[in-house]
Symmetry: none
Subunit: 412 residues, 2 copies
């Protein structure tokens, strides 16, 4: 069983952090100068690890092992949120490089094939999971026309960074047998429970619905209370009632959020004639998501029956289906975790979405989480302990060996 | 008794409507291009009516009769809400011009002095009753630093529209004996009761408080419900509870409104770390206003005791004290109404505030209301019948004559 080099892993992570560093955080959005510089540096590191590295036509960094398959893909994304943390996707990318290197350095594992990847635009600066969608063949023309906040499309960005015409790397089912994505938890469950490793069972599905309230805009002084059709008051009542209903139908890990709401026209002396909010909810179970969606609609229906404000619910964006992780791969991660951190690991769903969600429809996938300090992510203060970072990498390395070993035996 | 020219009045109103017209409504906020264009046109109209017209240093349009006093001031404001109606303050301004003109055209009344005004920023685009406060000498330096939604201060706007250094017109107690403000009701009472004219007894007091909720911004996927400090959810709960408490302490004509609320930072996937709303409430009684204010504070105190979100209540703007209209002036309006629309008028409070409230602390004031169709105001659909518009103007003209006539008799 190859031992990873923790110091080398941490040194690499700190070097990657320097691309777009801002205080303790990182600003490295897809196709920005720091992002492209980081991708070029990752190619150098992959080459040092003995892989054949390139940046593909959508910005994915792919390092291909020179060994024949069966091959494991390990990785995550190297881009960040506008005010991102240093670990987020970066950690999974550096795990992949360290594991490829460690396996190659150990004569007992040097024949195994690990391909390492850094996906492009996981954070949705331009579009939804650009790199992994391209890799599995799900990239659509319309995604190439999606634009960032400044209005630059994916196609324009690819042209700007000089990748037009560069081939897109694709999943090779004759070679690739599984995808492993190591990641920070981005939530507080592991830390709260005093655990070191989470083996992801599934990635939650997400739905969001826009709820619109249409009443009657009027003067807030001269309109008697009993005659009002106050869209704002209806929104407040809806939100409070919905919270109660969702709590009734929610599963143990369900979450929901009203992150945005507005009253129109928004004057202090004007009864809102219109109000809008978006309710987003997540759960690993389609059945629970269905029940939550039914609650969103039912509260609106009840309010429409009572009047006087008209409530409309429409789905917002494409719903994201829950994605189950592969049970056999989970078994390998669990066995490795039990070996390295006995009784300090747990099966858990992922409340955030990841590239593994996209890839799981084409290739068996698994994910490993390490604790996030304070549960904080997508923030400059995002961090994990060095011990947890190194331990997580070793667990993934162990599982990689056992997965590939089993594959070779079964081919045998 | 001078007869007003209803067709001329309506033609003028429709011309004024064209400045900032948007469908059936008007967008003519203070110091906007349409607002300043309207004020220049009003100067021309006042000049045609034989008055000496100018735009003063805060944007008030004042047309001074060339006759000596005692003089009556008649008028209202020509600015509108962001999505305003065409009559609101505009009608009172055009009544003033028509009455000045009608009195001058009748040899029996040509010696009487009516000064016509169009106040600046009654709607509070920048500050509170800018024009009337300036006219009575209550304009403070801090009001000049109040800003519109784009952050432009009154002083900056005055500079932008070229009024810096222009003198401010002031109330002249040696000349002015009373202020009459004709206005649409902006509520449904007259229409509901099948009446044509309302004689205002008093203007309600208004208070408003800003309520701020501080929680903890976090990822809406990976933060468990039980760990959240959701400022948005706290705002919704506060608003619903406050509504119940206010209903308990309110008087028969009390009203309240939450016209504006926002969640920050406003992302669909981000738990709001901060939320803000303004609650405004009105009543003719200071005692009832005190009880409502106590309820606003009490609900916040109870939420702070429960946690986890911190709620802060601060008074917003200057509280507006209830203002009584002058009984003698009301008598003149009532007599004129009984003459023109016998048994179809009523004494009533004004649930909306008006410049007459500001002026009433310095000069006897009275107001006349005409019905608003459907009780709607501050909306593009605001309207009144032509018959009511013309009748209201005649009643104010009759009362103006009788007031000025009585004044001259008493002076001897």
């Amino acid at each position: 069983m190859a031992e990873i080099d923790g110091k080398r892993l941490l040194a690499g992570l700190h070097k990657l952090r320097s691309f777009g560093a801002s205080g303790s955080g990182v600003v490295r959005q897809t196709f920005s100068d720091p992002d492209m510089a980081a991708r070029r540096w990752l190619c150098d590191e992959l080459t040092l690890a003995g892989l054949v590295a390139s940046i593909d036509g959508v910005g994915n960094v792919v390092g291909r092992s020179q060994n024949p398959g069966p091959a494991l893909i390990i990785g995550s994304h190297s881009d960040t949120q506008p005010n991102g943390g240093w670990l987020d996707g970066a950690m999974g990318v550096m795990y992949a490089i360290e594991i490829a290197r460690a396996l190659r350095e150990d004569p007992a594992t040097a024949h195994l094939a690990v391909d390492a990847v850094a996906w492009s635009d996981e954070e949705g600066t331009y579009t939804t999971f650009l790199g992994s969608n391209s890799f599995v063949g799900d990239l659509t023309d319309s995604m190439l026309q999606d634009a960032n906040a400044e209005g630059e499309t994916v196609a324009e960005a690819i042209e700007r960074v000089g990748l037009t015409g560069t081939p897109r790397q694709r999943l090779d089912l004759g070679r690739h047998v599984a995808y492993l994505e190591p990641h920070i938890e981005q939530g507080p469950h592991l830390e709260d429970a005093g655990l070191r490793v989470g083996v992801v069972t599934s990635i939650v599905g997400i739905r969001s619905m826009r709820v619109t309230f249409v009443g009657e805009q009027n003067h807030a002084g001269s309109t008697p209370m009993a005659r009002r059709k106050d869209a704002g008051a209806a929104l407040f009542a809806y939100a409070v009632t919905l919270r109660e209903r969702l709590a009734e139908v929610a599963g143990p890990v369900s979450v929901w959020n009203i992150g945005n709401a507005r009253l129109l026209p928004g004057g202090e002396s004007i009864i809102p004639g219109r109000a809008e909010m978006v309710i987003q909810f997540r759960d690993p179970s389609e059945r629970v998501l269905d029940a939550m969606e039914a609650a969103v609609v039912a509260v609106a229906t009840a309010m429409n029956d009572d009047g006087p404000v008209e409530v409309t619910v429409v789905p917002q964006r494409q719903p994201v289906a829950p994605a189950d992780m592969d049970p056999e791969l989970r078994g390998h991660l669990a066995a490795a975790a039990e070996q390295r951190v006995p009784a300090e690991w747990v099966d858990m769903p992922s409340a955030a979405v990841h590239d593994a969600m996209v890839i799981s429809h084409h290739l068996p996938c698994a994910m490993l989480f390490i604790p996030s300090i304070g549960g904080v992510s997508h923030d400059f203060s995002e961090d994990s302990t060095e011990l947890d970072i190194v331990t997580g990498c070793q667990v993934v390395a162990d599982a990689s060996f056992s997965i590939l070993n089993e594959q070779r035996l079964s081919i045998g």
